[in-house]
C-alpha cells in the first residue's frame, strides 16, 4: 500500500520527461497547456502542408507527378507532415497517460489526507480513553472527535441501564437533552440498540417524526446510529446528527462504526473501574470498622478487668474479710463475662470458615425459646413469650440458641422494655420475631447493623463490639434461613428470623447443584 504513491510519482516523472515536460512536479494544468501547444503546432503544420501542396500543384499545372521535380518536393512535404503527426500522436499518448496519473495522484493524496484526519481523530479518542478515567469525560472527548471528523451538528452517547432503558450520558451540540431516556426497541436509537445493526438516515427529516431523545423542533439533514457492543454485550448507542442541508454517506457510517469501538471499550473499562473503586471504598470502610472494633474490644475488656482487679485488691484487705464471698462472686461474674466475649469473637471468626459445617437437625423452636427466655429472665433481661405449643424447624440447636440470645440482648441494649418473642407458623416456614419497645431502627441502618464490627453508636454509651447481629445473620444463613429488621406494628424494632420447617431443602447445597 505504501509503495503505491512512490510508484505513481516515479511514473509521473517518467511520462513527463517523455512528453517533454521538464518540471519536477507537473500539474494537470501544465499537461493541458502542453497538449494545447502540441495541437496548435499540429494545426499550423497541417495548414502549412496543405498550402504547400496547393502551391506546388498550382505552379506545375498539369505536369505529370511521376516525372517532375515538384513531385519530389511534394513527397518531401508529405513525409515531413506524416513524421510530425507520428511525433504529435506519441506525445499525446504520454500526455494523456500523464494526466490520468496526475488525477490518480490527486485522488490518492486526498484519500490519504482523509485517512490521516480519521486516524488523528481515532488516536485522540484512544488518548482520551487512556488518559481520563471519568467515563463522562472520556465519552465527551470521543464524541467531540467523531463530530469534528464527520462534520456532525450534534450527537450523543446513550448507555443501557437495567437492560431496557437507554439514557443519554454524553451530548454535544443542540437537540439532545442529557439524561433523556428511550426504551429499548422504541424510536431509531432504541431499534438500533435492539437489532445491534448500524443505521444511516440519509434523507432530511423532522425530529418530531422520529421521537426518542431528540428535541421535537429540530430539522435535520441526516443521522447515523451505531450500537456500542463490547465482548458481545450491548452497552449503548452512539448517535451523530447532520444539519439540514448536509448529510451522511455509507462511508461516514463506516467511520462512525470505527468510533464505536473505543466508546464501547471506554464504557466497559469505566464500568470495571467503577466496580474497583466501589470495592476499594468497601475495603477502606471494612478497615475503618476493624480499627473501631479493636477500640471497642479494648474498651469492653477494660470494664470487667477493672471490677476483677478491684475485687482482688479488696479481698486482700483484712478488714474486708467478711466480704470475701461477695468479692469472689464479682471475680466469677466478670471473668465469665470476659469468657463470653472471647467466645463471641471466636464464633464470629470461625463462622466464616465453618459456615457449611453446622449439623442441622429438626428441633422444637418453641421449647428452645422457652429455655432461652428463662435464662434471659434469670440474667436480668426479662422477655415475654407468645408461642404455640410446639413448632418444628430445621436448624442447628446451639446456633439457634445463640441467635435468640443475641437478639434478646440486642433488644434490651438498643431497644426498651418490654421485649417480646413471638412465632408465626406458615406452610413451609416459621418466622421468629424479637420485638422491643424502643425507637426502632432507621431505614438506612437496617442492612448495615448486620455487618461485622458495625456499631450504630460508635462514640456512644452502649457497650459492645459490633459482633452480635453479624453473628445472628451468619448463623441464620448457615441454617438456610434469613434475618431482617422492620418497624414493629405498635412501634419499636422487630427482628424477624425466617426458618424452614422441613428436611427437604438445603439452600446452600441446592445452589451448588444448579
Amino acid at each position: 500500500m505504501d509503495q503505491l504513491p512512490v510508484e505513481i510519482s516515479q511514473r509521473i516523472r517518467h511520462e513527463a520527461r517523455v512528453a517533454g515536460l521538464h518540471d519536477h512536479a507537473p500539474s494537470i494544468e501544465m499537461v493541458e497547456r502542453r497538449r494545447l501547444q502540441l495541437w496548435s503546432i499540429m494545426i499550423v503544420v497541417m495548414i502549412s502542408v496543405g498550402l504547400a501542396a496547393l502551391t506546388i500543384s498550382g505552379a506545375t499545372g498539369n505536369v505529370s507527378w511521376v516525372t517532375g521535380q515538384p513531385l519530389v518536393l511534394a513527397g518531401g512535404v508529405g513525409v515531413l507532415a506524416v513524421a510530425f503527426c507520428i511525433y504529435a500522436v506519441e506525445k499525446e499518448v504520454h500526455l494523456h497517460r500523464l494526466s490520468r496519473l496526475l488525477v490518480d495522484e490527486r485522488l490518492l493524496s486526498n484519500t490519504m489526507a482523509l485517512q490521516l484526519q480519521m486516524n488523528t481523530a481515532l488516536f485522540n479518542a484512544g488518548k482520551a480513553l487512556n488518559s481520563v478515567m471519568d467515563l463522562d469525560d472520556v465519552l465527551d472527548a470521543i464524541l467531540a472527535n467523531a463530530l469534528e471528523l464527520l462534520g456532525g451538528v450534534g450527537g450523543s452517547v446513550m448507555l443501557l441501564e437495567d437492560q431496557t432503558i437507554l439514557r443519554v450520558v454524553a451530548v454535544r451540540g443542540e437537540g439532545i437533552a442529557r439524561d433523556a431516556r428511550v426504551r429499548l426497541g422504541e424510536s431509531i436509537v432504541g431499534r438500533v440498540a435492539q437489532s445491534r445493526e448500524p443505521l444511516l438516515v440519509s434523507q432530511e427529516f423532522a425530529a418530531a417524526d422520529v421521537g426518542g431523545a431528540l428535541d421535537a423542533n429540530l430539522e435535520l439533514g441526516g443521522a447515523m446510529c451505531v450500537p456500542l457492543v463490547n465482548r458481545g454485550q450491548l452497552l449503548g448507542v452512539l448517535t451523530v446528527l447532520a444539519a439540514k442541508g448536509a448529510g451522511f454517506t455509507d462511508d461516514d457510517l463506516s467511520v462512525l462504526s470505527l468510533f464505536a469501538e473505543p466508546v464501547a471499550a471506554a464504557t466497559a473499562k469505566a464500568g470495571l473501574y467503577e466496580a474497583e473503586r466501589a470495592n476499594v471504598a468497601k475495603l477502606l470502610e471494612s478497615d475503618r470498622m476493624k480499627s473501631q472494633f479493636v477500640a471497642s474490644v479494648s474498651h469492653e475488656l477494660r470494664t470487667p478487668i477493672t471490677s476483677i482487679r478491684g475485687a482482688v485488691a479488696a479481698s486482700r484487705r483484712t478488714d474486708l474479710a467478711a466480704q470475701r464471698e461477695e468479692l469472689l462472686d464479682v471475680v466469677d461474674r466478670q471473668s465469665g463475662r470476659l469468657q463470653a466475649m472471647v467466645e463471641e469473637m471466636l464464633v464470629a471468626a470461625r463462622m466464616q470458615e465453618n459456615a457449611n459445617r453446622l449439623t442441622m437437625q429438626q428441633i422444637d423452636l418453641c421449647a428452645l425459646i422457652r429455655l432461652t427466655a428463662l435464662d434471659s429472665n434469670v440474667a436480668g433481661r426479662p422477655v415475654d413469650v407468645e408461642l404455640p405449643a410446639s413448632c418444628s424447624v430445621r436448624a442447628e440447636p446451639e446456633a439457634l440458641r445463640r441467635v435468640l440470645t443475641n437478639l434478646i440482648e440486642n433488644a434490651h441494649k438498643y431497644g426498651a422494655d418490654p421485649v417480646r418473642v413471638a412465632v408465626q407458623v406458615s406452610d413451609d416456614q416459621v418466622v421468629l420475631s424479637v420485638i422491643d419497645s424502643g425507637p426502632g431502627v432507621a431505614p438506612e441502618e437496617r442492612e448495615r447493623i448486620f455487618e461485622r464490627f458495625y456499631r450504630s453508636d460508635p462514640n456512644g454509651t452502649k457497650p459492645g463490639m459490633g459482633l452480635g447481629l453479624s453473628i445472628v445473620r451468619g448463623l441464620v444463613e448457615s441454617c438456610g434461613g434469613s434475618v431482617w429488621v422492620e418497624d414493629a406494628p405498635g412501634g419499636g424494632a422487630a427482628f424477624r428470623v425466617a426458618l424452614r420447617t422441613n428436611f427437604v431443602l438445603e439452600p446452600r447445597r441446592e445452589a451448588a447443584h444448579v
Partner: protein
C-alpha cells in the same frame, strides 16, 4: 470538710460500684453511689460530696454531661474521671470541662485512692 470525706462513685457497672465502695470505706472515706448521670447530679445536690469519681460511658446522662453540668455551677465537688476511654482527646476534653484528674480503667484501686487523697489535699475543700 467532715471527718470522713464524702466520695460519690458514679459508674453503670454494679461490680465496680461494689468494689470501690468497699475499698473507699476501708480507707476511711464515706462513699455514696450512683449508677447513672441523673442520679449522680441529684446526689451532688442532696448530699454535697467532697469529690466525685466519674465514669464517662453511662446510659441516660453520660459523664460528659455531668462534668459540663457541674462545671457550670458556682460551687461543685472535685472530680476524678475514671473511664475506659484512654484517648488523649478524651483526657483533654475532661480537663477542659474542669476535671481534676483522669484515671484510665483498669486501674489499681490503691492508685485511685492515692489520686483521690492528692486531689483533696491539693484543694482542701470543694470549690
Amino acid at each position: 470538710m467532715s471527718e470522713r470525706p464524702k466520695i460519690l462513685i458514679v459508674d453503670d457497672e454494679p461490680d465496680v460500684l461494689l468494689t470501690l465502695r468497699l475499698i473507699l470505706e476501708s480507707e476511711g472515706f464515706d462513699p455514696l453511689l450512683a449508677a447513672d448521670g441523673e442520679t449522680a447530679l441529684r446526689r451532688v445536690d442532696d448530699e454535697h460530696p467532697d469529690l466525685v469519681v466519674l465514669d464517662i460511658m453511662m446510659p441516660v446522662l453520660d459523664g460528659w454531661f455531668v462534668l459540663a453540668e457541674l462545671g457550670g455551677r458556682p460551687t461543685h465537688p472535685r472530680v476524678v474521671v475514671c473511664s475506659a476511654k484512654s484517648g488523649d482527646t478524651d483526657r483533654a476534653r475532661a480537663a477542659e470541662l474542669g476535671a481534676d484528674e483522669y484515671v484510665t480503667k483498669p486501674f489499681e484501686p490503691d492508685d485511685l485512692v492515692d489520686v483521690i487523697r492528692a486531689v483533696l489535699a491539693r484543694h482542701g475543700a470543694p470549690v
